[in-house]
Amino acid sequence: MKRFSEVNPTKCFGFLFLVVLFLLPVFVFGTKSYYLRIAVLVLMFAGMSNGWNLISGYGNQVSLGHAAFFGLGAYTSTLLLKYIGLSPWLGMIAAGLVSGLSSLLVGIPTFRLRGHYYALATLAFAEVLRVLALYFRHFTGGAVGLTVPYLGDSFWFFQFYGNRTYYLVGLFMLFMTLLITYRIDRGRLGYQLRALKNSHEAAEVVGVDTYRAKLKANFLSALITGMYGTFYAQFQFFIDADTVLGFWTISVKMALMTILGGMGNIWGPLIGAGILVPLDEWTNAVFTGNLAAVSRLIYGGLLIALILWQPRGLLYWIYQSVARVWQRSRGIEKIGGNG
């Protein structure tokens, strides 16, 4: 523990500011508010995209199938609740473990190899799980979906009336996710991942077991994503294979949000989710029926534009712009001083 005198007042103030900022929606919006609902989704996507960021941003192993872990998590806790009445809080732990273990299935065969194999395998894994969930419909509800049994406003059963409690739970989960990713970022695994991202060979030479580092990051990434699957199921009260295991609905969104904000940075996914979730809700409300594809067109166009214009994301761009302005102002000062 730090003694009080060691606490940096600026940092402390920044932290307080963030807390107030994040608690604001609870006070501004009513518990039934549509905007608060969107805010909950922002928190959820920010958290799960941080999961994606761990393996794909920090570890540079691009996953195109994190919906697999998300969907497995959602199904695990929901089925446990439905069939044995297990509290979704415990179901969430089970969900994380199931997703984490399943990550080994794609990690073990691909992490010894270089190149695109992990991207291909994750994409294929999610697709196969989707087909399986559709096929075993007596168990999973198939294309019709699975309704989470409503047991009343109950903390034990992770079911709340209105969005306020969901928001607070989502905020707590995001806080924990950020804390974990921050610790990983600054810890041993973070350095190992950064080393292998720069150069596999160099990392191996200095003694990093790149295979194990990637497996670990992938496990944690899947674990976090799986737990958010439970959150989603409890929040929506409904899951179906095409949504929770979908390529467009989950896998690509997680990636896009992280890329938009900035990969390999804990704040990137938050910025990305803060922009894309409201955008998504807006396009879905405006373009309906035959025009529903417009929102995907916007997403695709945005992704291409982002890759060509600013592949390192908005955070990097902001940082760069601010640095440029700051440097310029300093430069002008110097000239003034000389004159």
Binding site: N60, P109, T110, A121, V131, F247, I304
Partner: protein
């Protein structure tokens, strides 16, 4: 007998899988890029062939040549305008550029033509040849025949023409190829044009027995990856072998398992290949 029949069907559809997959392996071999939008170019080919059939009454088998030409041009433009810009970028950028392209292609077709499932009606659609108890579906036979012919033409191009040799040289060693005066950018344009054009012509060839809809490509993604990984990433003969094996695996597994679980077996084959033979059967 049932097993033999399944194997025959598997080989026939496998020939088409080879044609769908060879573009992916070709582009990877020359450019070191996995085109995740590859299956969407096949979808594009299916739509072009469908409308050529509806409007001008051209049989999809014949129109596969027109389709190849049209999509070759589209692919070449995509390479010039988009992919060339990420040739030296990190893998993440390359992957997500083609994923973005997939989204644009799928949603554009959805907006233009709706999500309706469409198919063509040809005179030979329901025909089959019988040899004893064995049965050869005519649309499968034609699709296989045309695919193998196109494959043979590709082989001739790569082996017997200067342009093809330059392409193989670029695939073998990019910097050495540039040193001996090969224009690498031109080779990339050619490779992506060929790769997407071949997938599109495969789309036209399967139209007599398959439905076309905007997201049809996504269904073929797993088949395509397995074909290419099984044969060896970057190997053109490998894709032919891989495609036929995938066809057989799929067809034989449907004898014992429900059709919906075919892809599970293909996925298991994919993972087994990665574990035991990551370079593929005919990989470099």
């Amino acid at each position: 007998m049932e097993l033999l029949q399944a194997m025959i069907n598997g080989i026939l559809i496998g020939g088409v899988y080879a044609l769908i997959g060879v573009g992916l392996t070709l582009v990877f071999g020359v450019m070191d890029i996995v085109n995740f939008a590859q299956a969407e170019f096949m979808m594009l080919g299916m739509y072009i062939a469908f409308f050529l059939f509806q409007v001008a009454g051209i049989d999809p088998i014949l129109s596969s040549l027109i389709v190849f030409g049209v999509v070759f041009l589209i692919g070449a433009l995509v390479q010039k305008g988009l992919i060339q810009r990420v040739m030296n970028a990190p893998m993440v950028s390359q992957i997500f550029l083609t994923v973005g392209l997939t989204m644009v292609l799928v949603s554009t077709t959805q907006l233009l033509f709706g999500a309706t499932f469409r198919s063509v009606t040809t005179s030979y659609q329901m025909l089959a040849l019988h040899f004893g108890h064995l049965q050869f579906s005519v649309p499968y036979l034609i699709a296989f025949g045309v695919s193998i012919t196109i494959y043979f033409l590709l082989w001739l191009f790569l082996e017997r023409t200067d342009l093809g040799r330059s392409m193989r040289a670029t695939a073998q060693n990019r910097s050495a190829a540039i040193l001996v005066g090969i224009n690498d950018k031109k080779m990339y344009v050619l490779a992506l044009g060929l790769g997407t054009g071949l997938a599109a012509s495969a789309g036209a060839v399967i139209l007599p027995y398959a439905y076309v809809f905007p997201t049809v490509g996504h269904q073929y993604a797993l088949i395509m990856f397995t074909t290419v990984v099984l044969g060896g990433f970057g190997s053109v003969p490998g894709a032919l072998l891989g495609g036929i094996i995938v066809g057989i695996i799929q067809s034989v597994s449907s004898v014992y398992l429900p059709t919906q679980l075919q892809n599970l077996v293909v996925f298991i084959a994919f993972i087994i290949t990665l574990v035991y033979k990551p370079a593929g059967l005919l990989g470099r």
